[in-house]
């Protein structure tokens, strides 16, 4: 059984058909890339998965549970985390505080925290947060404010926030957009070395990233899946070439 099953999802913005009858199955433990020209509906699809947008039609099942009409925070609690295009962290807090938040969210759920316990006295939780931070190579930045980190480090921190909750599915929206070559390579390495078992869905423009990370690729164009297969299948696929060149001619 696939971990994520998107079935006949359609979404319209007024007259614009952003997604049309999209069917997609993501197998557990794989890295699945979503590619396609600008405006193809990739980010829209991710927003449907995180509960940000409600489709007009269709169903989305995660591990056998329906995801539609579920709030973003509940979706996260089910085990889906999202890495944003621009690293989304808590800028005015320290790196450690940033990662402590998901650790508490994992322990207490979306709204059951104790108003009178001292958060710094929860040693096991704090230590777990510190481990996560060290694993992502931010060991010497524990008490640095997040807004003073470099972009690459912010990306690491965001990953640490997402991973501290032990998600089963990680959604990545152009994780290397706007990054320099060496930062992109670091990100690829980071993603390749993530703990086993996490399923990844990655939206990406950089083909180098796509081909070095993913086992399976789906191509979206004008809100529809036009091709699906292994990286080798996709490389020479006539429809894919047409979709990209078609855009170039406009």
């Amino acid at each position: 059984m696939p971990i994520l099953d998107i079935h006949q999802v359609s979404l319209n913005f007024g007259g614009l058909k952003a997604l049309q009858n999209v069917n997609l199955k993501i197998e557990e433990g794989t890295t699945h890339a979503l590619i396609g020209p600008n405006g193809a509906g990739k980010s829209t699809l991710l927003n449907v998965l995180t509960g940000m947008l409600e489709p007009n039609d269709g169903s989305v099942m995660f591990d056998g549970k329906p995801l539609l009409n579920v709030k973003p925070h509940d979706i996260n609690q089910l085990g889906i985390a999202k890495v944003f295009q621009t690293p989304a962290v808590f800028p005015e807090m320290t790196v450690l505080e940033n990662v402590t938040i998901p650790v508490f969210a994992a322990r207490d759920g979306s709204f059951r925290m104790n108003m009178f316990e001292s958060s710094s006295h929860q040693r096991p939780l704090i230590e777990f947060a510190e481990e996560q931070i060290c694993e992502l190579g931010l060991k010497d930045k524990l008490h640095v404010r997040a807004d003073s980190l470099s972009r690459g480090d912010k990306r690491r921190l965001e990953m640490a926030i997402c991973l501290a909750h032990k998600p089963r599915l990680l959604l990545l929206d152009e994780p290397t957009a706007g990054m320099a070559r060496h930062e992109t390579e670091q990100t690829i390495e980071l993603l390749n070395n993530l703990q086993d078992g996490i399923t990844k869905v990655i939206v990406e423009h950089d083909m180098n990233v796509v081909f070095s990370l993913s086992e399976k690729i789906s191509v979206l164009a004008q809100g529809q899946i036009i091709a699906e297969g292994s990286p080798d299948d996709i490389k020479g696929h006539p429809k894919v070439i047409e979709a990209y060149l078609g855009e170039a001619q406009v």
């Binding site: 995180t50 925070h73 999202k82 807090m93 938040i101 994992a106 709204f111 925290m113 108003m115 909750h165």
Partner: protein, 320 residues
């Protein structure tokens, strides 16, 4: 971070506050403060500490907190007048009423952020103000205010003079301690996260809306408690208690003192009431103008308020 830290060490701020507050009757007159003003300062300390949890931590600027202060004051007044002169039931009912009102207003206003939230809260408070002035005049006394309460009693003690001061101060110390506890708790962390990045917080599995409502209601309870104590301090409720002027005063106190520090807004409250009641005697009618200049200077040159000034001073002393 050290578990072995003692109670005193961990609650240094509360202990220092308690010492300063409890000794106020001895040193405050030396600065020209009259007896009774110290009680009023303590009441406003309670008000601003709660307000700071909302403004300083979650970043939501309410321009309508007078509503909770005023509603609690009227409720206390009516309870004392028509039910019993005992303050405990009066205060409890008053805080309960303002809490319920806060839940409703919070549910309606917290859907919006920034200026829209501020304007909505202001609109609600003004609504209550005009209700007190017209529709509910029979109960509130309208323009003349609510009067005719008996002397408030706590068990067998008449609530007058020093008794009120020590009661209010004790409550202020407890409320400051509670606020400090909340600040250090995971809930305090969530409050700050709401200010930093609400979307990320939602995507981190936290129901940000509920935490916002919780904070809003807590701050309204502080405001309600302050409003109730205000009537114990002086058995009179004026319609100004509900007015936008009152809401604005709390904002100014918080900003001058330094939002997000809990201590700062209390300094702001002390400064402002001292300024309004003592220094203004020499300045006459012009005191508001001078206050305006001070407020502007703080916002422009010292956005962190008095607390920023103190920490800059501390750093400079440490360097030398």
């Amino acid at each position: 971070m050290n578990i072995q830290q003692g109670f005193l060490q961990r609650n240094k701020a509360v202990v220092i506050f308690a010492l300063i507050a409890l000794t106020m009757p001895f040193w405050f007159p030396l600065l020209g403060g009259y007896s009774g003003l110290d009680t009023k300062i303590m009441i406003f300390c309670i008000f601003v500490v709660g307000f700071d949890l909302l403004l300083g931590y979650t970043g939501y600027l309410s321009f309508g907190h007078a509503a909770f202060f005023g509603i609690a004051a009227y409720t206390t007044g009516l309870m004392l007048k028509d039910f019993s002169a005992q303050i405990i039931p009066a205060i409890m009912v008053a805080v309960l009423v303002s809490t319920l009102v806060a839940v409703i207003i919070g549910l309606l206003t917290l859907k919006r952020t920034g200026i829209y939230f501020s304007i909505l809260t202001l609109a609600f408070a003004e609504m209550f103000h005009s209700m007190a002035m017209a529709m509910l005049q029979e109960w509130t006394g309208g323009e003349n205010g609510l009067t005719g309460m008996p002397t408030p009693m706590l068990a067998g003690i008449k609530m007058q003079g020093d008794a009120v001061f020590y009661l209010v101060t004790l409550v202020a110390i407890i409320m400051f301690y509670i606020a400090k506890r909340i600040e250090r708790s995971p809930v305090g962390l969530m409050m700050r996260a709401i200010k930093c990045n609400q979307q990320r917080l939602e995507y981190t599995g936290i129901n940000a809306r509920k935490y916002k409502l919780l904070t809003f209601v807590i701050s309204a309870m502080y405001a309600g408690l302050a409003g109730a104590l205000m009537v114990v301090y002086e058995p009179f409720v004026g319609h100004e208690f509900l007015g936008w002027h009152q809401s604005g005063e709390i904002v100014i106190m918080s900003v001058i003192g330094g939002v997000g520090t809990l201590v700062g807004p209390m300094l702001g409250a002390g400064f402002m009431l001292y300024f309004e009641n003592v220094l203004s005697v020499d300045l006459g009618e012009q005191w508001l103008l001078v206050l305006g200049f001070i407020f502007m200077a703080v916002v422009i040159f010292m956005p962190g308020g008095f607390m920023e000034a103190l920490s800059r001073l501390y750093k400079r002393i440490k360097q030398e």
